[in-house]
Symmetry: D2
Subunit: 304 residues, 4 copies
């Protein structure tokens, strides 16, 4: 079948290629003419025979919302737009309503797989109407990994469910990464464990903790055994934050996912105001740290 | 080669079978005569030609220490004992010293894989002398999964390093499990996601969070889609606790692993003394909860 | 001076009394005629000489917003409305804009003190214009505790700063309460500490942890030494949630405040879906719990 | 009555003074001759009339244990030693046993108050036999704050209970300090709150969060409003660690106290190995950060 793709960045570029390899005809648009198949969204619409399916793969938030608004101008009744970006699930109702004014359908699709998706396929979770899902299934089948469909694709639920599921997926990912990271640091700290990379590599088969993320950690350690080429400075994207916010909205305890998020925040602070406050308090009650030493051999202070 | 195994419980029973399948001769001892190949540790020693290798697979702590002490009586100089149980790494120096009095060698081996190890093989991490590791390599090769040796086996370091690595492995496992669990609960809480088991199943291929634990969660949801057959009551074994204690000893922040451990503690409390204290405080300052209502429409309290 | 108060619940009722005791003339409105001085907001406005100052003390959110909207109908240019409830600080811009349409001023005021405020006075933090703050100062002085003004009152900053500061105050309060609560539970768990209430009572003077909350805990233990009359079930109001959300919005690590919030969420669950998922995973890999026992003396499983 | 004090550091020096002010005769020993009243422990013993009471106030651990051992040589049957340092409660049984060999009694006493104790008095929690507690009561009365005895002194329980209670006290203190610190950082991060020191100062009267620690924070902000003179680098002493370890030993969830402890650990890391591991994982799956940019306008990655 035919597919339009808007946004040919790292993700969209590879997805166009994967869908093409599956034998579909893809027209891609990007504002970068070097990668674009077409000069404008209107041109993209003109190159597709209706009813059209257009996949949006641009940065979440304002850019996605604007792209959807522009598509509502150039597409026609009966067409279908799929937002495959990392939009917050609360945007989906807005986007769907905008398109519904023109009789255009909408699906939200969470996509996982990163730069490895071109070869491995992408994990997909979709929200919206079953009939729309059915219509786009050849595309979903092209994008998802080999193997049983249900192991790489789900119709998760109503409008927004795809992005909600992807948000939770990423929240889990924060927790998983931090769990491995804490274990790595503790192995590094041990005077007994002499070969940390070999120890972690040995977890790849047979163990309870084997996973794709573990494989990636092994990859990283293969080329940089102490991870010395990196700084412990970690950005976060929206999903980790949104996951904790939704946990709060639903009164779901999320101690692990929030701890992972806060560890990222802290990693970006060269000096923590909070810890300055703790230091200030210790100074106040105990004469800790720099303060004048006083008589020698006795117990300095009994406070923490 | 020959191997003695002491302890034929769920783990040892399967390990005897896996080593036998690899073509080795195994003599197993268990105090349960139905599964034991021999009537006593002395008999086990008699049935093996020296220098002997004996694998201990009994509950960690006192039972393992006693077993090692008994083995020191029946084995001979030049023999080798491998503790494959979940001993705390601090026990390894004690066990090794006990055996060294008789000139018997000692290795500590962390074993991961659970009931699936018989078919999949066991992930192995070993601590001790390289020569002893080399001597037992045919047994390690029999137990570890198919594939490159280094992906299922590591000589992690000095005496104790095997159990230290296994301890950290299990600490990570606590964090991973809790991350998936929090995600599961949040999906369940969402009014958008209508098919939670299908959503999680779709993470098995292509996604960043795919893992063996995820596969197990899918298995569990296949037979019990709401996990209604279980109570949210979770025991912990020693390793999670030891991991947090070692993190503290090494001043390694472990917010995720400790949060996972504390979630287990809390899961076993029908009524939390701490939360009774919080409730008591709220009562004190705000007249929250049951207390007499007072004038109607106004703001009850401005406290938390 | 004159003051109108809207909302005579537990807080507003006492505040009317405290302001009256300071010699001001107060007209209170509540939809409950038993406590109200007047029959309607219009009547309240009529009973005050302009320029009027009206203090709103009704439940946060819709009720406060509606009350402000109604006040904008009955008040006049040059009047001043103070929202002393626990509104989210993001509501203040909306409320202020609504009133500004009519030339009516607006201050947001966080109020702390609970049922003890009538006698002790209320801690006050205010957001808005300095001139408006100055105008209402006699009322703030009446409400705040005895002692230096700056120890019980602050003009915290711009519009919204009062409620933001109160939100943070309550977030801190969550952390403080949970810290005491964890300590209480650990004392209770100790076999050495035979008199927990006496131990906590002894912290009231001289120690680093002495505080008003500690005094309240002592009060509670005086009447119920084991806190047996309470269940460990704790509600949360908006501020704890908002504090964590704002921490996330500002990339501020808040591990303690969020842990305190999640402990409250967990306290309200009779059975945790997350912990059912952890239990399910343990069953899957280890044959833990109920599953058939297998051979006797061996090590059950080496997993966590 | 008479009292011997061993250790005249910041704490012991002030305690000698406070006991003297109460009218007791105190002989202090310190290896620093400038502050010592006597030249040796033997000399200290000789200067006191039996049955003697000797207060030990030296650094916890080996130094305290050695001091107790030395005292067992120079004291006599019927004398009493009180360890007022921050010993781990598990040391108390050892110290008591050592002294019991000579018929010397032993009490463990947790002391809180820091450098402010000289004027304010010290909060005291004691473990051991009631008769010994009674014997030393004049000294406890001299050291504790003015006011009712039970608000600054408790006989907490058996041998070790005093240090256990002090350990928990300090664990709570970690949580309290971190709660205020997180709130401080969030206020600092707000664009609405223009006067953070004034806002915090206004919490001193009337509010739910008023406390001695809050007063200290106000002191610190008075002299350094942004806390710019300090680095966010915070040591920890033993008690925070021990509290979490005991929480684990008793299966008591301690998310807040442990989070406060881990925040201190993290504050001392200029670069976190764990966060390097998280950064490495992000690089692996997403081409995040520095990696080559690829086509322009599209969505970079959909991972976290």
């Amino acid at each position: 079948m035919q597919l339009g793709i808007v946004g040919l960045g790292k993700m969209g570029f590879n997805m166009r290629e994967r869908v093409r390899r599956a034998g579909h005809e893809v027209v891609g648009y990007d504002r970068n003419p070097d990668v674009s198949d077409t000069t404008s969204l209107a041109d993209l619409a003109a190159k597709l025979t209706g009813p059209r399916v257009v996949w949006v793969m641009v940065p979440a938030g304002e850019i996605t919302r604007n792209t959807v608004a522009e598509l509502s101008e150039v597409l026609s009744e009966g067409d279908l737009v799929i937002d495959g970006g990392n939009s917050r699930f609360t945007d989906d109702a807005l986007n769907a309503a905008k398109l519904a004014e023109k009789g255009i359908g909408y699906l939200d699709c969470g996509v996982s797989g990163g730069v490895w998706g071109l070869e491995n396929g992408y994990g997909l979770m979709v929200g919206g109407d079953a009939a729309d899902v059915e219509r786009a299934m050849p595309i979903f089948d092209a994008l998802r990994p080999e193997g049983p469909r249900e192991e790489g694709f789900a119709h998760a639920g109503k409008l927004g469910a795809g992005h909600f599921a992807k948000m939770v997926h990423n929240g889990i990912e924060y927790g998983l990464m931090q769990a491995y990271a804490e274990g790595f640091e503790l192995l590094e700290a041990s005077e007994l464990v002499e070969n940390v990379p070999a120890t972690i590599k040995a977890w790849q088969r047979g163990t309870v903790v084997r996973s794709w993320l573990l494989d990636l950690l092994v990859n990283a350690l293969d080329s940089d055994p102490e991870l010395d080429d990196l700084r412990g400075y970690v950005e976060d994207s929206g999903e980790g934050r949104w996951t904790v916010e939704e946990a709060i909205n639903h009164a779901v305890p999320a101690p692990v996912i929030s701890a992972a998020l806060f560890a990222r925040f802290a990693s970006r602070q060269s000096d923590s105001p909070a810890m300055r406050a703790v230091a200030a308090l210790r100074n106040q009650f105990g004469g800790h740290a720099v303060q004048s030493a006083g008589p020698s051999s006795g117990s300095g202070s009994t406070q923490g």
